[in-house]
Structure formats: structure tokens, C-alpha cells
Symmetry: C2
Subunit: 234 residues, 2 copies
């Protein structure tokens, strides 16, 4: 079964969430069932770009990961787009046999058996500012499909309404580790990013979250945006 791949790059550090700072090779799948208003990965989402996506066999994907990492079995992050609309089971099986570990990030709209083969499933339900609506039945199926893999919630926050919504979502899942991340309104890779803006957005989110006495979520920025702006492939 072939895969549509937008890009494979690394090793670089994971920029966000539970594995922040961890050296990682990224497999970015092409294609998505969502179209978030503020999507920062349109080159892996919008079908306008689909002719840039490479059609690859699973062993070609793992060969590329092994080449990039010099055979060191690092963490591999499968993202997108929504990687769950494709079958990554063979890639994960081949990688695990070589000692690689796998994380996958998805919005939680499509459940897959191979979630159970991951080390970490990152579910990032999309808040109101995205313009999308979460199907909670599908979302719960994703959580169940993860089996014994670690599972975390990661929610991007653009405004107060998103934060209210995140607090409701968190209450549904009292036992899941929860990460909040300030939204990035500037997603043009040609545009330079001002690290001060990123600092300001972090300050706002920390103030709003801690300020309302909500002390459960971990709050993290997008380190890759701090370091490289919106450049791709880093």
C-alpha cells in the first residue's frame, strides 16, 4: 500500500507538546479531512499541493528515515495533514524492528488500529477558532484504539473562547495529560517571525490560564517557530 508523503525531514528537535526538545525525524503525511482556518501546514493539507506529495512505499519511507538519522533509532513523529487517513502500520512495524520509536499527531477524527503500535498518540482536538467541529464519538474511538500507547491532549489556543472550550474538553478527560499551545497567526513560510510576538503570545496564554486558577495544563510554545520561523523542513 503506497503512502502520500508531503515531506520527511530531520533529525531536528520536536518543537511542541510532550516530547518538546527531543531529537526527532518527521514524516509529514499529505492529505487532511479538516481545513482549519489557521492551518500552519497547508502544503500537507490543501489538495492544491497534492502533486508535490511523493507517492512512496513503506520501506522507502523507513529507508529515508534511517538515512537521515544515520541509523540511530531516534523518535519518529508522524504528522500531517492527518496521518490517520492513511495506513502507517507497515512503516511503524519496520521502524520498531530497528529500534525506532513512534509518535503520531492527529486531530482525532479517524481511528486506526496502528495507534496501538505507537509509543505516543498526540490528539489535538481543534478549538472553535479553527472553524472545525469535533466529532466526539470518533475522538473517543481514537483514544480507545491507542490501547496501551501513551496518550496526550494538545490544544491550540487563539482566544478566550478557545480557552473556555479547552477547559470543557479537559473536564471530559480528567486523566489525560494536557498541553496548551498559543496559536500562530502568521503561517507564511516566506514571512519572518518576530520572536517577541511568540513571547507575547506565550505571556498572554500563561496569564489567562494561570490567572483563572486553571493549573492543570502544561503551556508550551512552538520552539521550531521561535528558532526557524515558519520555514519548512526544520
Amino acid at each position: 500500500m503506497s503512502l502520500r508523503i508531503a515531506e520527511i525531514f530531520g533529525p531536528t528537535i520536536q518543537g511542541e507538546g510532550a516530547l518538546i526538545g527531543q531529537p526527532t525525524v518527521f514524516i509529514r503525511a499529505g492529505g487532511c479531512d479538516y481545513r482549519c482556518s489557521w492551518c500552519d501546514s497547508l502544503h500537507a493539507v490543501d489538495s492544491r499541493y497534492r502533486h508535490d506529495w511523493q507517492v512512496m512505499q513503506p520501506d522507502e519511507v523507513m529507508d529515508r528515515v534511517v538515512a537521515l538519522s544515520g541509523g540511530q533509532p531516534v523518535m519518529v513523529s508522524i504528522s500531517g495533514g492527518n496521518p490517520a487517513i492513511q495506513d502507517f502500520a507497515p512503516v511503524i512495524a519496520q521502524g520498531r524492528a530497528l529500534g525506532y520509536r513512534f509518535a503520531c499527531e492527529t486531530q482525532g477524527s479517524v481511528a486506526r488500529d496502528w495507534f496501538a503500535d505507537l509509543d505516543l498518540l498526540v490528539l489535538s482536538p481543534k478549538p472553535p477558532s479553527s472553524g472545525e467541529q469535533v466529532d466526539w464519538v470518533a475522538f473517543d474511538r481514537c483514544l480507545q484504539a491507542a490501547g496501551r500507547a501513551d496518550r496526550i491532549l494538545k490544544i491550540v489556543i487563539f482566544d478566550q473562547r478557545d480557552l473556555d472550550w479547552a477547559q470543557d474538553v479537559a473536564a471530559r478527560y480528567p486523566r489525560l495529560p494536557l498541553y496548551l499551545q498559543p496559536g500562530n497567526p502568521e503561517t507564511d513560510p516566506a514571512q519572518a517571525v518576530d520572536p517577541q510576538d511568540l513571547a507575547d503570545r506565550m505571556l498572554w496564554l500563561v496569564d489567562q490560564t494561570v490567572g483563572r486558577g486553571w493549573l492543570r495544563p502544561r503551556i508550551l510554545p512552538q520552539l521550531h517557530v521561535l528558532i526557524w520561523g515558519n520555514r519548512r523542513g526544520v
Copy 2:
């Protein structure tokens, strides 16, 4: 037994290391057996400031933590200075009875029985640029004292020599999670910090570490410096 306390503040997010982003109340102990050339907490280290340190009883310390956190049992980070030169066992016992969790950060020069009562012991051996020299016998005693508490290594890197040294240290402790953090040469709280400088130092450290094919350490900035500069109490 009374304690010398430089400051108690929070809740705010943990700015560095394994618990980065986690809402935390900080207890900063006064006094240190080291004097690192680039110390960013001189107000808790240099005995010139010792008359600013409050003498507190353990229950006064926990009362303050409870008041700041509104009774929510958050993570408490005991730092300094070197907190291991004082006896935090009663504070930890009182806090744990209320559901609080405790992390402690120390350079690893003084071992304490109460390390075993922590949730996390962060050992940050000081690299050559600090001007200090690690006593590895004492350091290993600290690791042993932690018992079943989680233990991590966190090393600040200012230059290539520090990075070489960190790689040697890492080889001594192949099973410990390892975090690297770019050094902050500007520690004057009155001086504004340019987030671009912090981004540049992260870029340098990621390039140097990943560039030499060293893919074990997680690499993280000091988020609190990004957000608040060198201001105290945040």
C-alpha cells in the same frame, strides 16, 4: 529547624527541564556552596544578599505555598542556591500530606535523605564554563539518595567545551534522561532580554548537538527568560 528562603513565588510555569510548561510554585532557598561564573540567581547565592533571605519555619513555607496556589496541589519546585545545604524534609512531608508534588534542583554536591521523598530530582552538574569542578563521588551519592524518585540530568551549555564535557558526562550515565539548555550570558534583572538572542542561542545549540550526530539529549530553552526576561518572581 528554620530555613533561609530567598523567595517563594507562583504559580507560574516551569521554564526549563523535564517539567517545562508545568504550573509550579517555586521555593528558592538562600545559600549555595558553588559560585558559578554565570550564575543567574545571585540573589539566592551571594552572601551579600543574605540579609534579604527570610528565616522561615517549614510550616510557614508550606502555608505560603498553599496560599499562592489557592490550595490546589500543584507541583512545587525547590531550587536555589543549592537547596540541598538545608533540610527540606519537613516541608516536603507537610506538602505531600496535602497532595502537593515536589521537584528539587541541585548541582549534586550534597546528598540528602529527603531526595527520596521527591517526585523528581533534577541534577545539574556544572560544566567547565562555570569555573566550578564536579565532585563525582558526591554526585553519585545524590543519585543514590534519590531512591525511587525520578532523576534527570540537566546541563547548561555555553560553548563547545561545555558540550564536549556534557557528552562525557552523558556517557557515564547512559540510562538517565538528559536535558541540555543554552546558557544565558545576560543575567541582570534590570536589563531587557532580546528574544531573538535566546532564539539564536537555541539554534546554535541544536545545530552543534544534532550536527555532531548526538541525538540523545533533549534541548530546551529557558521559557521564563523568553517570556519575562531576567525579572524575578515569575
